[in-house]
C-alpha cells in the first residue's frame, strides 16, 4: 500500500513537471489551430494585443477607443501597459521570445533598431493607396525615419516641438514680466530666459526659475539639450550622424550655459531633484505639448500658460522633435488586422479626436478646431499658434538622429555630462573633448 501511494505521488509530481515543461503549443498544433481559427473566424473573435506606455488612465482611454474597432472587426483588443523606462527592453525580449504584441508603440530611436532587425511589418500596402486614409496628409518628414524606400514600418501619432510652461502666478507675485510678454515684444531669447530664471529663483523658499528636463532620474541628455545646442549654432552630429561635432566654440558655449544654470546661477533644478512643475514652485518648465493635459488634470491653484522655446544666437535654428509611432509586429498571427488597427488609430478623424493627448503630424490635425480650441480654452489658441504651430512653420523641425549604435551614443553623452555635473570633468572643454573621443569610437563601429 505504502509503495502504491509513493508511486502515485511520484507519478503525479513527474506528470506535473512534464506538463509544466511542455511548450504551450507545438508548431504543428499551432498551425492546425491557426487553420481552425481561420475557419471559425466569423464565429470566434480574434484576439489582438497592443503595447503602450503611460498610466492606467491612458490604458482605460485606449480600451474605450478600441471598442468601435472591436465591433467592426469581430475581435477583442487587449491593451498592455508597460512602464516607459522598461518598454524597449521588454519589447525586445518579447520579440526574441516570439510573444510580442501584434501592435506596438515605438519612440526615441527604437524604430531604427527594430526596423533593422526585421521585427516590423511593412504596412505600405494597407495605408499608402487608401484614399480614405489620406496618407499624403502625413508630413513626409515625419515618415522619413519609419520608412525605407517604398516600405512603411509604422505611422507617427505624436510629434512636435517642446514648449515652455510658465507659472504666471509666481511671475505676478514677484513683479517680474512674464515670458509671454517677452514673446510679444519679440525679445524671447535664451539670455532672457536665463535672466528670468535667475530673478525667479529663491532657494530659501524652495523656488526655482527653470526646469529644462526631467531631473528626477537619469535622463537622455542628447535629447534634453538638443534644442539649446542647435539654438547656439552648434550640433551634436554631422548630417549623416557619422561624426561628433559638438567640440566647437558654439558647442562649448552652449553646454557651459547649461552648467552655469545649474551650478553658478543655481536657477535650474539639480540632477536628482524630483520637483514637478505642478508643485507650483518652478517658474518655467520645458516639456512636451501633451504635458498640458497632465497640468490640466492636476487641478492647480496657479495660473499658467505656454510659450515657445526661446531663440538663441542662431535665430534660424530648427528645433528637434521626437516621434512616437504605431508599428505592427512582423510575426503577428493577424498581420492584416494589426495593420487595420494602425489605420483605425491613425486616420485623420481619430487623430483629431485625441489631439488633446497626442498631436499627430497630419496637416488636417494641426488645422483642426479641436486642436486650436482646446477644452476650457486652455491652452489658448494664441498660445498654441505661437508655441507649437508657429515654431514648426517659422523654425522648422529636425528629426532626432538615428544610428545603429544610438542607444550607446546617448548613454555615452549622458555619462560624460554626468561626469561634468559630478565634478569628474573640470570644464566644458574637457567634457566635449572626452565626448568627441568616446562618441566617435561608437559611431565608427
Amino acid at each position: 500500500m505504502k509503495k502504491l501511494v509513493s508511486l502515485l505521488v511520484i507519478s503525479l509530481l513527474l506528470f506535473s513537471l512534464c506538463v509544466a515543461c511542455t511548450p504551450a503549443e507545438a508548431p504543428e498544433a499551432k498551425e492546425e489551430a491557426t487553420k481552425e481559427s481561420a475557419e471559425s473566424k466569423s464565429a470566434e473573435p480574434v484576439e489582438l494585443t497592443i503595447a503602450i506606455w503611460g498610466n492606467e488612465d491612458r490604458q482605460a482611454t485606449f480600451e474605450e477607443l478600441f471598442t468601435a474597432f472591436e465591433e467592426q472587426n469581430n475581435c477583442s483588443v487587449t491593451v498592455n501597459l508597460v512602464a516607459y523606462a522598461d518598454y524597449a527592453t521588454k519589447l525586445a525580449t518579447q520579440l526574441a521570445a516570439g510573444n510580442a504584441p501584434d501592435v506596438v508603440w515605438l519612440a526615441d530611436g527604437m524604430e531604427a533598431q527594430f526596423m533593422q532587425s526585421g521585427n516590423l511589418l511593412d504596412i505600405a500596402s494597407y495605408v499608402v493607396d487608401d484614399a480614405d486614409y489620406a496618407f499624403e496628409d502625413l508630413y513626409p518628414s515625419a515618415m522619413a525615419a519609419i520608412s525605407d524606400g517604398d516600405a512603411v514600418y509604422g505611422i507617427p501619432f505624436s510629434f512636435g516641438p517642446r514648449v515652455i510652461y510658465c507659472n504666471n502666478t509666481l511671475f505676478k507675485e514677484a513683479g517680474v514680466k512674464t515670458p509671454a510678454e517677452y514673446v510679444a515684444e519679440g525679445n524671447w531669447t535664451y539670455e532672457t530666459m536665463y535672466d528670468l530664471a535667475s530673478q525667479m529663483t529663491d532657494l530659501d523658499n524652495g523656488k526655482y526659475g527653470l526646469k529644462l528636463w526631467d531631473t528626477s532620474s537619469v535622463s537622455n541628455y542628447v535629447y534634453a539639450f538638443y534644442d539649446l545646442i542647435l539654438a547656439y549654432g552648434a550640433d551634436y552630429f554631422n548630417t549623416d550622424t557619422s561624426k561628433f561635432t559638438l567640440n566647437t566654440p558654439e558647442g562649448i558655449a552652449a553646454i557651459q550655459a547649461i552648467h552655469d544654470l545649474i551650478y553658478k546661477d543655481e536657477s535650474h533644478l539639480k540632477p536628482g531633484d524630483a520637483t514637478e512643475f505642478t508643485a507650483g514652485t518652478i517658474a518655467m518648465a520645458r516639456s512636451t505639448f501633451s504635458y498640458a493635459k497632465t497640468i490640466k488634470g492636476a487641478d492647480l491653484d496657479f495660473e499658467w500658460e505656454m510659450v515657445s522655446e526661446p531663440k538663441g544666437p542662431d535665430a534660424d535654428a530648427s528645433v528637434i522633435t521626437g516621434f512616437a509611432y504605431y508599428s505592427a509586429n512582423a510575426d503577428s498571427d493577424n498581420p492584416e488586422l494589426a495593420a487595420e488597427m494602425i489605420k483605425f488609430m491613425t486616420n485623420a478623424e481619430m487623430m483629431t479626436s485625441v489631439v488633446g493627448t497626442f498631436v499627430a503630424p497630419r496637416g488636417s490635425v494641426l488645422n483642426s478646431t479641436e486642436f486650436l480650441q482646446q477644452a476650457d480654452g486652455i491652452p489658448t489658441e494664441e498660445n498654441i499658434l505661437e508655441a507649437f504651430v508657429g515654431v514648426i512653420e517659422e523654425r522648422g523641425l529636425r528629426s532626432y538622429p538615428a544610428h545603429k549604435n544610438f542607444s550607446l551614443v546617448q548613454d555615452q553623452v549622458t555619462m560624460d555630462f554626468d561626469n561634468w555635473f559630478a565634478g569628474i570633468y573640470k570644464s566644458a572643454e574637457e567634457t566635449v573633448a572626452a565626448m568627441e573621443t568616446n562618441v566617435n569610437a561608437l559611431l565608427a563601429e
Binding site: 509513493s6 513537471l17 525586445a92 533593422q116 537619469v218 536628482g272 555619462m415
Partner: protein
C-alpha cells in the same frame, strides 16, 4: 548482512525518487541556464538578431581590453570591502544589545527587521528621495544647522558609499536575527564560569560569544559577499551606475549590456566571470573556515 545492504539500497532508491522532482527542477531552472550562459558567452548573440556566430573566447579576451570592466570590478570590490565589515560589526553589536529581553525590545527588533520585508526597489527609491541634493531629507536637516550637504548621489566619491549604506540598513535585521538566534544557543554555563573567573563583558563576548557563534558569522559573511557582488536594484534605483560610470557594478553592467544594448553574448561572458569570482571567493572562505570557525557541529 546482505539483507541489510539490500534494504539500504531500497531506501536510497526511494530517496532518489523523492528528490527527483526537485533535482529535475534544479537542472531545468538553474543548471541548464548556467551552462547556457557559458555557451552564449562564446557567441555574439544579440537579442534583436537571430544571426548568431561562434566567437570562442572572443568575448572573454575583449574583457581584458574593456576599461569599463576593470572599473566595474574595482567598484564591486569596493562595495564588498565597505559592506562586509560594517555589516558584521553593526549586526553583532545590535544582536548583543537586543538578544536580552527588556521592555521595548520587541519594538526595536521589529523596527530593525522591517526594512528586510520591504521591496528592494521601493527601498532604493525611498532613499533616493532622502538623499536628494536640494530638497532631500538629509540635506534639509543639514541646512537647518547651516551645513550645505553634498550631492550625495551625484558625487563620484560618495555614490558607492551611499549605496552601501542603503544596502546595509536594509539587511541589518536579517543578520541580526541570525546572530541573536546563535547567541541564544550559547550555553549559559560558559558565562557563569567566566563571571566566576572575573571576565569582563567585553572579554566574555570575544572569548565565549564570538567563537561559539563563529558558524553563523561565517554563514553571514559568505551570504554578504555573494550578495554584495550581485548587488543591482539599489544601484539601479539610486544612481543608475552614475555619476558617469562611478557606481557601475557587475550585475548593473551585465544588465546594461544584455537588456539595453541587447549584447547577450558579451553580457553572458561577464556573467561567467562573475560566477567564477564568486565560486573562487566562496571556496577560499570555505577553506579558511577551519582557521576561524572553532565551534562547528
Amino acid at each position: 548482512m546482505k539483507r541489510k545492504d539490500n534494504s539500504l539500497n531500497k531506501d536510497s532508491k526511494w530517496g532518489y525518487y523523492f528528490i527527483s522532482p526537485m533535482f529535475i527542477g534544479f537542472i531545468i531552472i538553474s543548471l541548464l541556464p548556467v551552462l547556457a550562459t557559458f555557451v552564449i558567452g562564446m557567441t555574439d548573440w544579440s537579442l534583436l538578431n537571430s544571426d548568431i556566430n561562434f566567437l570562442g573566447f572572443g568575448n572573454f579576451t575583449k574583457l581584458f581590453t574593456d576599461k569599463l570592466f576593470y572599473q566595474v570590478a574595482r567598484n564591486s570590490l569596493y562595495f564588498t570591502v565597505l559592506l562586509i565589515p560594517s555589516n558584521l560589526v553593526i549586526c553583532l553589536a545590535l544582536a548583543a544589545l537586543l538578544k536580552n529581553n527588556f521592555k521595548g525590545v520587541g519594538f526595536f527588533r521589529t523596527a530593525i527587521f522591517t526594512p528586510v520585508v520591504t521591496t528592494v526597489v521601493v527601498w532604493g527609491i525611498l532613499w533616493k528621495y532622502i538623499f536628494q541634493t536640494d530638497n532631500g531629507l538629509i540635506n534639509t536637516i543639514l541646512g537647518m544647522i547651516n551645513i550645505a550637504g553634498p550631492q550625495w548621489l551625484y558625487n563620484a566619491k560618495l555614490a558607492i558609499p551611499v549605496a552601501v549604506f542603503v544596502t546595509l540598513i536594509k539587511g541589518l535585521g536579517l543578520n541580526m536575527v541570525l546572530f541573536i538566534s546563535a547567541m541564544k544557543d550559547v550555553p549559559e554555563v560558559y558565562y557563569e564560569a567566566a563571571r566566576i573567573d572575573g571576565a569582563s563583558k567585553l572579554r566574555q563576548f570575544f572569548s565565549i560569544t564570538l567563537p561559539c557563534i563563529a558558524p553563523s558569522v561565517f554563514l553571514v559573511t559568505i551570504i554578504t559577499v555573494i550578495g554584495s557582488l550581485k548587488v543591482f536594484a539599489q544601484i539601479d534605483t539610486l544612481t543608475a551606475g552614475g555619476p558617469g560610470t562611478s557606481s557601475f557594478v557587475f550585475v548593473y553592467y551585465i544588465y546594461q549590456q544584455a537588456f539595453k544594448y541587447y549584447k547577450f553574448g558579451y553580457a553572458s561572458a561577464i556573467s561567467v566571470v562573475l560566477f567564477i569570482i564568486i565560486v573562487i571567493l566562496t571556496l577560499v572562505q570555505w577553506k579558511m573556515r577551519k582557521r576561524w570557525v572553532y565551534h562547528e557541529n
